[in-house]
Each structure stands twice: as C-alpha cells, then as structure tokens.
Amino acid sequence: MKRRTLLKTLTGIGMAGVLPMSLVRPAFGATADRFLITISATGGWDPTSLIDPKGDAPRADGLGPINNYSASEIKSAGNLMYAPYSNQVEAPSIESAGHYDNFFEKHHERLLVINGIDTQTNGHDSGRRFVWSGKLEEGYPTVAALAAAPFADQPMAFISNGGYDFTASIVAPVRTASAATFNQLAFPNSQFPADPELLEVGFFTETQYSLVQQAREARLTRQRITESLPKRQKQMDQLQTVKNTDVELQSLLEFLPEEVSSGLAGQGEVAVAAFASGLAVSANLSLSGFDTHGDHDLDHTPTMTELLEGIDTLWDQIEAQGLEDKVTVVIGSDFGRTPFYNQGDGKDHWNITSVMAMGAGITGNRVIGATDENYEAFKLNPSTLQPDDNGIIVTPQHVHRSLRDFLGIQSDLDNLFPIAVESLDLFG
C-alpha cells in the first residue's frame, strides 16, 4: 500500500494521526511495557574512531591513513574492539564517563555492535532516512514511530528530539523541553508551578476551572458538528482526540531528576521518566556535530565523548527506574566517514557505518559484521552471520527487518511499510 493510500485509510477510520491499537500486536500485552530509544549521532559518525578501529597503516592506494593512531594501540573490552584516541588530539578526562576506556569497560557486556552496514548513500537526508526507517526512498516512518504507533493514544507516545522523525501520521511526535516546562504544563491552572507549596494556587478555583473545561469541550463538539470544510473537520477531530486524552504530566515529574541535564543526557532523562510514568513508548534522541569535514580528530573526539556520556547517563537512568529489561537502545548515524583524511584534516561522507544496541533483549559483548582494511564491508553469511564471499552485503534494510522482528512490530503495520529482505538474526 502506498503512503497516500495509507493516509486515506487512516482518515477513513477517523484517526488521522492515530492508529488503532489493534493494528499491531504489542510485544508484551496491551499496555506498553517495552520501550525503544534511538540515538542519532547526527551528521555521520566515524566508526573507525570508535567500534570498528583500523589504525594508521598506509593504504595500498596511497589515500591513507584511515586513523591517526597505531593499529597496535587498538583496545578491547570483552569481544569488542575499540579505538584509542587519535595522537593528534588530547583525550578527554579519564574521569569522564564518555572516555572510551570507561565507557567500554562499563558497558561492553551489554553492547551489541553491527559493523559493515552499507547505507548506499552519502547524502545526509537519505542516509538518516535509510538508517532510521530502513527505506532509502521517502515515505517510511522512523522505527521509533512504528514502535509507538500501537500506543498512539498515549499523550507522549513518541518523543522526538529532532533528527529523522517522520511518522507517516501513524503517531504524533512530541517534542520536549526542560523540567521546568513540564511543571508548567502539568499544572496549567497553577500560578506558581515551580513552587511546591503554592502549586495549588490557581488562576481559577476548581469550580471555575471546571466550568471552563466543560464549556471548552462542549464548544468543540458543537463546532465539529456544524463545520463543513473537510480540512477543518479533520483538524477538529485531531484536536478533540488529543484533548480527550488524559495527560498525566504530574506523574512524569515524579520520575525526573531534580536537575535535568542539558544536551543528550537531558533528552535521555526525560525519555526514561516518560517511560516510567507510562506516558511514552519510544523516543529518538539526537546529538549533532559529527559532520567533521575539517579537523576531524579535533572536532569528532569531544562530540563522541558527549555521545558516550549521554548514553552512559541514559543507562544509569534506565537502571535507576528498573527498566533495564524493558528498554532497548539503538545507536546509529547517517553513514560513516571516509577511510582517509582530506586536505583539511577532515573526513568526508562514506557509505559504510555501524550500529550499536543495548538493553532489553540484546545479548551484549558481541560484534556482527566486519570491514576490510580499506573500510569496505565484508559480505555476511545470512545464517551464520560470519564473513562469507558468497553472502550478502548488510544494509539498513536488513537491520530494520531484523529490528522490527525483534521488537515485535508485525502484521498489518509492518505490511503497510514493507521491508522485503531476508530476516537476519542481528538482534536476537
């Protein structure tokens, strides 16, 4: 079914923007108790500077080196290999949770790495689309939207922090801000939402506010009945659907840290609190700054540190809420970066990339896929997942086929946005 036909179908059932839960069989029951976080390293990260390290051996074609560190310095944690820091830059503080040594020591047992994924593009838009939807062409929702669609009647089912967040109208994306904002919105009638002692002091008394709320609801119903322009009818339906949903933002506040962090870490804190409070099912987190066409080592290193710090904070939050058996985290990027430096010490776009995953259902301490000395992907045997000259090149299509199966996104919704490739057991 084409996207337009899908949208017509959705409109036809009066749920423009909201899919009925029956379209998808949730993984574990009717209410969400399995959650998905996608983290986009926006701009195109360099896996050879992280989990697919190569070293500085000269390339046969003279383009090298791939990295500014020696292959002999490449490190390991369990079965994972990871890059040392470039000898051209200062490593981050050893105290940082985002320092490679700390990060991989702490998390390697739960990390799955898939290397050698061919995105078939070096365009940002198409790369992001392919990596997060499994479809190079336009029209497919991000997998986070697919995960949230069965629970679209939850007020914050899919939290988006930018990046690729196309939803094909199967669920409304929700954007968030600071903790203070949640206070204001959780108590829309409070004059002093930030002050616990004065929280109950409203602009209106309960009686007055109840009158206003009743009048608002009745008015929208009357407007919808008398409206004759289809577009406005649709908008009123959407508004009424959302207004009829209880937004229990107060419960979110109970799970937020006292001080919500900034940046990626803060995005993660809000997402986990929203999961814990039952308001959200999926979230995409986003960190930009990876598009390092100039001074690659200098600019990529701190951004990678921030990424890993954010993941570390996220995992701490997940554990603090006791959600480690329910939240799956998938980390990826638009594509990779060239296995050589350009004249400005930068690295340009390269179609090969990696994906990391951790959390619920993921068997960690594993690496699937590989790349050669020039950072080209090896073919994989679809059954053994080992390099095989007669195998297949893994693309984001395979990743998403496997991810969808792993997450339990099945039947009708899966068929609406089909990914027709063999299913590899990448995540199981």
């Binding site: 994306p173 801000a177 919105l185 009638n189 407007q223 340009d348 776009h349």
Partner: protein
C-alpha cells in the same frame, strides 16, 4: 481489419477497466472524444438545429459494434468540437477517439432505434505520439502522469506554449540524450503533450473551484492582516475594502507589504525551506556565523576573541554581528520583494546584503553610506571587490567576488556544504528543490530497491544508466559550483573532476568563458527557466496556506483526487501568470493567493464536493511565532508572564513563552531551530494542547484586568461593560451580551448575531462563573484578584499605578476571565 482491431480493443477495455480509469480524469478538460468503460464520450459535437451537445454512447452489442445513445446534454462551449454529424447521410464522424493510449478514427451509421453502428474504425497515430511513447513514456508514463523517475506532465512548468515546451525538449529532453529529439520531433512531442495532458478551464475545474465558498472580503482582510503584518486592520483599511471590493483589498495589501512586520513574516516563510536561520544565535553553536567567515580580516571587528575583554558590550557585538551575517540571504529576499524587483534577482543579484555590523565584518562598511551606524535594521546591498583573506600563511588576495544572489551566499553554502566525495551534489539538489521545484530525491525510485547499485564501471555517474538518470540533472548544476569551496569561499581555477557531468544547465553547457563566473551563469539560466516561477508559487503557497500544492495523485489516484489536483493546478497557473506578468513581483503573487478561494475557503457549496476538497483551505495550526504575534495583536501585550513585570520581561528574549525553546514552549509547540529540528509540527499532541490550556488560563488572567485599566473607548476586549457590571436588569444584560458578541468577533473572527446559540453559551458560562464565585466569596474566596492577575504597575514603564487594580469584590472580572480562558484556547484562536 480495422473493425476487428477495434473489437479487440473493446474486449481489452472490458478486461482492463481499472487501467483505463485514470485516463478519464486526465481527460476531464479535453475536447478529445474517448472510449472508456464501454462508453464513447464526445465532449462536444455541433449539430445543426441542436447546437453544441455533449454525447455519451453506450456499447450495446459487441458483435455488431452497435452503440445506443446514452445521453445528450449541452456541451461546454469552450471546448473544441470533436465530431461531426452529417444529417443527410446520418453518419457520425469522430476523427480522433482516444482509448487508453491508442487512437482511432471512427465513422458510425445511424440505424433504426437510435442506434449507431461502427462502419469504420481505423487506428491512427497522433502527431508526436510515436516519438513520445518511444522517448518519453518510459519516465513520464504513457498517460503523462509521471512516475517515480519523472514528474507529471499535466500542466507542467514548461507547458505554457508549444514554443516553450518544444524548445525545452530540444535542449534538455530526454535527460542525458537531448540530441535524440530535436526539430520536428521536439515540436511534435510538445504538441502531443499539450493536446493530451493539459487541463484548463474545463467544466469540472470550474465546478470544483466554484464549489468553494469564500470568506467575506472583510474577514479576508482580518485574516490577511494578522497573518502578514501581525495586527488587526485599521478602520480605514476596513472602509477601503468595503468601498473598493477586491481591488480595495489589493490596495490595502500593498500598504501592508511596506510594513516591517510583513518582512519578518516573509523571512519566516522562506527560512522554513532555506533554513539559514540555523546560524542565528541560539539555534546553533554560539557565534557560528562569524566563525564561518573568520578568514575575513575584520570578521571580529569588535575585538579579537583571543584577547578581548569578554564584557557585555563584547557579547552584544558578537550576537548582533553574528545574527546580521546569518540573516544575509533572507535579507536579500526582503530587499528584492521590498523593491518589487523580479524574484529571479534572489539568484542573479551581483551583490549581497549587509547591515552596519556585518558590513564591518566583511570590511565594506566604509564603502557604504549607512544612515545610522548602530541601526541593525538598515540593510544595504554590497559587493566584495579586491577581497583579501586571512590565512595561517598571511593575507592572500582573492580579487572580485562574482556574486550570484543566494547561490553564493556564505550562509547558504555553509548550510548546504560539500565535500570531496559529494562534489557539490548536495548544493545542486537544494538548488533544484528550492529554485526549480524539482525534487531530485524523488527520482531515487530507479535505484535498485535495497540492493547495491553496480558501481564497477570507471565512472558510473556517466556510464551506468541507473545512475545517469539522476546525475545527468544533478551533476551539471553541481559542477557549476566548482569555484566555491566546502566552506563557502570563492577560489577560482581549482582543478575540477573530469569523471562527472561538467557545468551546465538544462542541456546547455556552460561556456568556457563563464568558468570564473559559473554560478552567475547558472543563475541567469535558472532565471529564464519557467520552473523557477513554479518554485516561487510552491514556496509562497506553502507559507501562506500551510501546505504545498497538491502533487499529481499518481497511479492509484481517484477521480476526486485528480479533480482536486487539476482544479488547484489550473488555479495556481492563473496566479502564477499574474505574478509573471507583473515582472515576477512577489507581492502580486501574495495578493493573488490571498484573494484566491483556496486561501479564503470557508465552506463548501454542498457536501458532494467534500471528497474533492479534503485538503482545501488555509486553516492551519498556528506556529508558535504566529501565535505569539497574534496574541500581541489581539491583546496589546505578548505572552511573557504577569504584566506587573512586563516592563522587564518585554526586553528579555527568553521570557517570550512561545519563542523560547529552553524554559518555555517554542520547541514543544512545534517550532524549529533550522538545525536539528527543521520540520514544524502541524498536528497537535498532548503537550501542545497543554500549552494551549495554560496559555488560555494565563492570558485570561492578564488580559481582563489589564483591559479595565483603560477607558472604555480604548479597550480591546471589554468596551461595553465595566468591571462592576453584573447581569442585573435588561440594560446590563444587553451590555454583557454585546461584549460577548465583541469578544467572539475580536478574538475568534466569529461574527455572530445576538441570539446565536454560541453567544448564549458564552453568556451562560459568564453567569455560571459569576454566581458560583459570588456564592464562594466569604467562604472559600475573597474579594481580590488572583495574585498574578493584579495590576499595580504600568505595563511599559513599570511605574506604580495611581489606581492599582487588585480587588474584584463582586467576582465580575474573574467571571470574565473564565470567558476569556474559554475563548483563548478555542480552535478558532489556536488555528487561523
């Protein structure tokens, strides 16, 4: 035998009715008779004594090819007769009948019983048809409706005349091999396309557009005023429209389009697609725009960032200068529109825009004559001549910069950077998308789905057909950027790649002599391409209506979708013609869109058109910026918290509830930062509705007491009542009802007569709130306004008020606050 051939066709039609259905939609505006679903349609035949008739003949007997007359009604006189009837011989001659993608010449003999039997059915080929099917149909479809690899030809950008289309085909098409269809081939194909695939003012198009019932001119004025200049119309403007009708409205709009607020809105509209506001302070990294131009010796004219004291003045200069540099491409658009220059100037301008701050960074301040050195709103065109840049190795002369409007803008080039492997293809894609209305990414359908493209040849973008399809379009434009580095600087005479299509456009190679001024050449070529005008229509339509023009429905399109597309497409062509005729003056395009039924749509003539007009109308969830301005226009203050502190908060950017994305709601309410978040939310979600609710509550609290501080004749909201007026006695009740009527009109643009149930409902809310509140006074309530609603200080100066407003002894103001909260979270308030 021809008859057998026709019979075969009929059988095929019976089997493949689904495949034919789309043709009917494409033909709805055509004069050509066609055969579909066993019915022979003749849109117009002139019969002596009967006038112009539209006939439908139903196939009654396949074995004898006999038709019966199904209907005969008056024909659309604008169509060309497609058949003749000889009264003497009783022969109906139809020289051209379309059946699916084939054509026949028919003669039918009238038989007893009003039956027509086919005498002759000769297959015929329309001039240009064979060439079209051989060279064009594989991409554009045999029906011209486009496919994954090429756009629809229905009312296409180059279809304004046979000459224009023929020339375009001769120079450009087929992509990559334009030499294969030139001369007669190009002319014939052009005629074929124009004959078969164009719809104009067909009855269905006219009916579809006529089915839209538009807002009154007065309401259109209000809507335009709020949307374009963020204020309500003045009495003078209302009178001008009342007396001058549509032309009066055009004149008022002309006046509005001289106001600063209009240019703020224009920037918003264009930035939503160009996204160069990414470099404004707060959207990306701090001082990013200045840092992008740090090779200019005076970039940090206010102090070397390594040594300067970081005081308030320093940071003020950083922010002001940075934002001036960031806004350069959008200010060029403003300059072009303000001076009513042809819009092509946004690409062909041999200058760029600076204000006093950015002029200093670019080192051109002394060459210009600014009236006020500190006026950030004073923008002048400038050129970079004899430029020298600062490098690690010292100062290097660059010479004169060949400006080409936005294409050579430092901000544009950095917003869409390139790389050694990308080779400016990203810039080319954006150029096509923004300025030629061509979405290159939509051509990706030819890429083998999910499987690697064969890139084993030496230059697949030149010699692999799968690649050439896109790259023959993409790469000549990409190569035209060859003198501009990944950082957006001009470096001529650099070696360029020879394994890709070289600089050019639309089948024309860039002359070698233009190599140093390659982008100026490209801009001049784009400027004469009619697709540029389509791009402007799409861009402005999107900005004003809230969605892009409809795309061709494609293979699975219903008749209703085709009718919707054809009608809107024809109408937009008319608007585009007016804009082009007025020297590509964008103001004209804006005026025509505002006056169009698609922008003014209020209701439909009857429900039968509901399915056709599913997307019609400019009703939209207001963006946070638009809602912010609307609040100011209707209430006289912005949403920035309690008004007793407004004299402070009005100058603090982060206090604007709908503009700040950190502590408040700009992002939550669907705004963009032009960087990570580039798509606006157009449908509400739970958090956005919570914002609406809080907004209604807060604004009601602030607005009602604030309004009562003014004299009645100066009040925006409460001109008919006093803060003590209770619904006691006919006079008071009438005044309260009049005020409610005014509030519906003022806040919601809802002009209701006294007695309307909606006014009664609001009145009931007021009375219920008042009675409940009065009952509670002395029990759970007192006679004071809520703390945040009290007014003790002047709104602007902050000075203590001589008569503070803190008491509400009879609960009247609080009852009005419930009314205001009710109305200011209404659909009509948050949508426009």
């Amino acid at each position: 035998m021809a008859g057998i051939r026709f019979f075969t066709l009929l059988l095929a039609a019976l089997i493949g009715l689904g495949a034919l259905s789309n043709m009917a939609a494409a033909q709805s505006g055509s004069s050509i008779p066609y055969f579909e679903e066993n019915i022979l349609h003749i849109p117009r035949i002139d019969v002596e004594g009967f006038g112009s008739l539209k006939l439908e003949l139903a196939l009654q007997d396949e074995s004898t090819l006999t038709f019966s007359l199904l209907s005969a009604v008056d024909a659309d006189s604008s169509l060309t007769p497609g058949a003749t009837y000889d009264l003497n011989s009783s022969i109906l001659s139809v020289p051209l009948v379309q059946a699916d993608t084939e054509f026949y010449a028919l003669e039918l003999q009238l038989q007893p019983g009003d039956l027509f039997q086919v005498l002759i059915a000769n297959e015929t080929v329309l001039t240009g048809q064979q060439e079209y099917n051989e060279q064009c149909a594989s991409c554009h479809g045999v029906d011209g409706q486009g496919a994954a690899v090429a756009v629809s030809l229905v009312n296409c950008a180059n279809c304004s005349s046979a000459d224009i289309l023929g020339t375009y085909i001769e120079n450009v098409m087929p992509v990559g091999t334009p030499d294969s269809c030139v001369g007669n081939c190009a002319a014939d194909v052009a005629n074929y396309i124009l004959t078969l695939f164009q719809v104009d003012d067909s009855p269905m198009v006219v009916q579809t557009i006529d089915a839209i019932e538009s807002l009154s001119l007065e309401d259109t004025l209000r809507k335009a005023s709020l949307q374009l200049v963020s204020r309500l119309p003045t009495d003078g403007e209302v009178n001008q429209v009342a007396s001058g009708g549509e032309n009066g409205l055009r004149a008022v709009l002309d006046g509005m389009m001289t106001e600063d607020a209009f240019y703020d809105r224009l920037i918003e509209i264009f930035n939503d697609l160009i996204l160069t506001d990414r470099y404004l302070t707060g959207n990306g990294q701090f001082a990013e725009a200045i840092n992008l131009m740090r090779i200019f010796p005076d970039a940090f004219w206010f102090g070397d960032p390594r040594t300067a004291e970081r005081n308030a003045e320093y940071f003020s200069n950083v922010v002001t200068t940075n934002d001036a540099i960031a806004r350069e491409p959008l200010q060029l658009i403003n300059f072009v529109v303000k001076n009513e220059l042809p819009m092509t100037e946004i690409l062909t301008a041999d200058y760029f825009m600076v204000n006093p701050y950015s002029a200093k960074s670019y080192g051109v301040f002394d060459e210009l004559s600014f009236q006020d050195e500190y006026d950030v709103d004073e923008w002048l065109p400038a050129q970079l001549n004899d430029l020298e840049i600062q490098t690690r190795n010292g100062t290097i002369p660059v010479g004169d910069i060949p400006h080409a409007g936005i294409l050579t803008s430092l901000m544009f080039l950095n917003r869409y950077p390139t790389s050694d492997t990308n080779r400016n293809r990203g810039r080319s894609r954006v150029t096509y998308d923004l300025f030629l209305d061509v979405d290159i990414l939509a051509l990706e359908g030819t890429r083998p789905d999910g499987e690697a493209v064969d890139i084993s040849s030496p230059a697949p973008t030149l010699d692999n057909d799968d690649c050439v399809v896109c790259h023959a379009l993409l790469d000549p434009v990409a190569s035209s950027f060859e003198n501009w580095t990944e950082n957006g600087f001009y470096v001529p005479n650099l070696p360029w790649y020879d394994d890709m299509f070289q600089a050019g456009f639309a089948g024309v190679d860039r002359p070698a002599s233009e190599e140093p001024t390659s982008l100026q050449w490209l801009a001049s070529e784009i400027a004469i391409d009619p697709r540029f005008d389509d791009a402007m229509v799409r861009l402005v339509y999107n900005g004003l209506v809230g969605r892009e023009p409809l795309d061709p429905p494609g293979d699975d399109g219903t008749d209703a979708e085709w009718d919707a597309y054809n009608a809107e497409s024809v109408h937009l062509d008319e608007l585009k013609s007016a804009y082009v005729a007025d020297n590509q003056n964008l103001k004209t395009l804006i005026k025509e869109i505002v006056l169009s039924p698609y922008w003014r749509a209020e209701s439909l003539e009857n429900e039968s058109f509901a399915i056709v007009h599913e997307e019609t109308g400019a009703a939209r969830l207001l963006s946070p910026e638009m809602l912010h301005r609307k609040i100011d226009a209707l209430l006289g203050f912005e949403w920035r918290g309690p008004l007793d502190f407004y004299n402070i908060t009005k100058d603090i950017d982060s206090q604007a509830r709908l503009l700040d994305d950190n502590q408040f709601y700009q992002q939550i309410y669907g705004g963009i930062d032009s960087f990570v978040v580039t798509e606006r939310l157009t449908e509400p979600n739970g958090l956005m509705v919570a914002v609406q609710e809080r907004m209604g509550n807060e604004l009601a609290c602030y607005a009602i007491p604030n309004d009562f501080l003014a004299d009645a004749e100066d009040r925006l909201l409460m001109p008919y009542v006093e803060k003590e007026t209770q619904p006691i006695g006919n006079s008071n009740q009438s005044a309260i009802m009049n005020n409610i009527q005014h509030l519906h009109s003022h806040l919601l643009a809802e002009n209701l007569e006294i007695g309307d149930p909606e006014l009664d409902a609001t009145y009931d809310l007021f009375v219920a709130a008042l009675e409940a509140g009065q009952d509670a006074i002395g029990v759970t309530e007192n006679g004071d306004l809520p703390f945040s609603c009290r007014r003790t200080r002047d709104l602007i100066t902050g000075a203590d008020l001589a008569s503070p407003l803190t008491a509400d002894p009879d609960y009247v103001m609080r009852a009005w606050m419930t009314v205001a909260a009710y109305l200011m979270s209404d659909y009509r308030f948050v949508y426009e």
